[in-house]
Symmetry: C2
Subunit: 214 residues, 2 copies
């Protein structure tokens, strides 16, 4: 017989993941982020490729508590964030990738829609949280806004995925020290990984169990 | 400079993924599913763990064309399916995991919400498509409905993720031959993987490019 009780599943899952983190020197909060990402991917290899800026968790907690908004590249990230927990803090989640103006702007400029969306967000990203799970071009654009337009998100959760630009965009994110970040080395990532990182921090604040098994 | 044009990114991504599929004997449609899953995860190791029932693609195409509905375990899967393409065929996507009646039923029975949701769907799954990206318990429940209640979905895309039951649920799916399936061996999977499989088939039918880069 298989387990059907959410709490038992959660506890057992954490027991299985724990040994894979044993060799790493992680704080409790970081462990929670690693565990949730590994659970969301079923892939213990994430233990060696996750990169968390030393101030990322404290910064994200602080801005969430004051009601920061989250800006995502794709709808799956928006939809995956635990809205029941997030709304307690007063923020909103924004995603413009499917908006008509973004679609037209992207077509006109010959760029991806998610890149166009980040450019249109522009100054609105200031002091807010950016969560990118899909498109390398969206992360490149946010890093350009930081560099060239002096826009300062509070933190960037940047885990775009794939074989064209994803590793490079994430390396660029990890190479700067100004904006706290959560990222991953290499080609892996995705919406589920971005969501896992955001929800891990939300559940720390909420003191809820934040059960993994839905 | 990085690529910003969606079509170039798509083509380059497929060029990079192709050699990883070279050793496998796959039809064109299967190649598209493999490629999209590998792209969505950034993980070429999927090439060796994806399992597609020989009739799965043809069956899913046929039922989509007659307007089949899709039943998902979590909202992320519902939200990730390309709605612009899917709605052309007339079907609806259903997910009950956040419904109040499901929450209450799950609590009363001591089971997960997604398992409760599948049990409540019950006969509605007959001849429709099931897409499970998150919860092993939801897949176990659908397989129980098949076995014990004689309910026959047209096909099951079953890629729940994690360390508690996911490998077992997927092995059970691949061990039966009655319902065509798309699945993955082991602990890996997730909403992004379920979405990649569904969208790959939708784009085959739509003859659209179905661009990977948003």
């Amino acid at each position: 017989m298989f387990m059907t009780k959410p709490m038992e599943i959660e506890e057992r899952s954490m027991e299985i993941i724990a040994p894979h983190l044993a060799g790493l020197s992680l704080g409790d909060d970081e462990k929670k982020i690693y565990s949730r990402i590994i659970h969301a991917s079923g892939d213990v290899d994430y233990a060696s490729i996750i990169r968390i800026h030393p101030e990322a968790v404290a910064t994200i907690k602080a801005v969430l508590l004051r009601g920061a908004n989250i800006f995502t590249d794709v709808e799956m990230v928006r939809r995956g964030i635990s809205i029941r927990t997030f709304t307690k803090f007063g923020g909103e989640i924004y995603c413009k990738v499917s908006d008509v103006d973004v679609r037209e702007f992207a077509k006109r400029e010959g760029i991806t829609r998610s890149m166009a969306a980040m450019r249109i967000f522009g100054k609105r990203l200031q002091n807010e949280i950016v969560a990118i799970g899909n498109a390398p071009t969206a992360l490149f654009e946010v890093l350009r806004l930081v560099r060239e337009e002096n826009i300062r998100p509070a933190a960037i959760i940047g885990v775009p995925v794939g074989f064209v630009g994803a590793a490079e965009a994430k390396a660029q994110l990890a190479a700067q020290d100004e904006i706290p970040y959560i990222t991953v080395e290499g080609t892996k990532g995705g919406s589920s990984i971005a969501v896992a990182a955001v929800n891990a921090i939300l559940y720390m604040l909420d003191n809820s169990r934040g059960l993994i098994e839905k």
